[in-house]
Symmetry: C2
Subunit: 172 residues, 2 copies
């Protein structure tokens, strides 16, 4: 497997929304999924749950209900990161933990040469309801975000987002 320095991975990762339609392997998916488990969480509760989708008919269903999820049609996999409110009852912490997990998934995908994009779900009720209905999620499960992963159908240059106006030294 190709290696990529973590600082390089963080600074060169971009949201990839065009895929070739080629599959991704189970070993690639395993690396990515395991990365999702490795984020920190409030009080180390690890309140995440992952729905892993590779079935084309489900990609079509997702594209139908989410206007920003059209790229699923050419994707290799989709991971819906959910939070379990039985494990972490504070929604704020739950969202933080799942978002750190999603960032790990995005970086791991990039690190092994795949493209990926975070498609937002929470806090848009239309999206969370649609996903809850489609996957018959129990009431204690909040779908936080969806990561669509695939072989890159586009390349993007590094985007330097540093902005000195947003850095406040010692105080505001």
């Amino acid at each position: 497997m190709k290696k990529m320095d973590v600082i390089e991975a963080i600074s060169t990762r971009r949201s990839i929304r065009k895929f070739t339609g080629e599959p991704i392997s189970d070993s690639e998916l395993d690396i990515i999924l395991r990365a999702g488990f490795q984020s920190p969480s409030a009080h180390n509760r690890q309140p995440w749950e992952f729905i892993v989708i590779k079935d084309k008919s489900r990609f079509e269903a997702l594209a139908k209900v989410h206007k920003y999820a059209q790229m699923t049609l050419q994707a290799g996999a989709c991971i819906i990161v959910c939070g379990n409110t039985d494990i972490q009852e504070l929604t704020g912490f739950l969202i933080e933990d799942c978002s750190a997990s999603i960032q790990n998934i995005l970086l791991a995908s990039h690190g092994i040469g795949l493209g990926a994009v975070w498609v937002g779900l929470y806090p848009i009720t239309e999206h969370t309801n649609n996903i809850s209905n489609m996957f018959s999620l129990p009431g204690n499960i909040i779908p936080v975000g969806m990561v669509v992963i695939g072989r890159k159908g586009e390349e993007k240059d590094k985007a330097d987002r540093f902005n000195v106006d947003k850095v406040h030294y010692e105080t505001w």
Copy 2:
């Protein structure tokens, strides 16, 4: 600068809460801070703001108001990641964006050999109020989380958090 593969960084990073008290360099802090800017954000709004603290008297003040922030006393730097509600009015998205940024900061710190820990602020009103008061934050600024960074005073083995019960293939 030492290099670390991104998959290795994700899988070996741990929360480090003991530091040696030695300073960290401006170039190290620059790498870490830039990582914070490089996360994705909803509609690419980049609603984060960073308070960067190196002053020991402020570390003492932080330790006084936050029982989980005692490690600041031996830290090299502290970065408080805040969200700007004028840029992203949906709190859910704001928290997601800032959490992805925090995860980048944690991974970058680990990648260059430093220790770091995420000290939770939002949604605990006591913590967000204390930080807002201490730093005279404007009303549109939510302090989401605090990353305390320093030279490691403890080493921790890799923790494999993979749990097959939390993986749901194709549906719940």
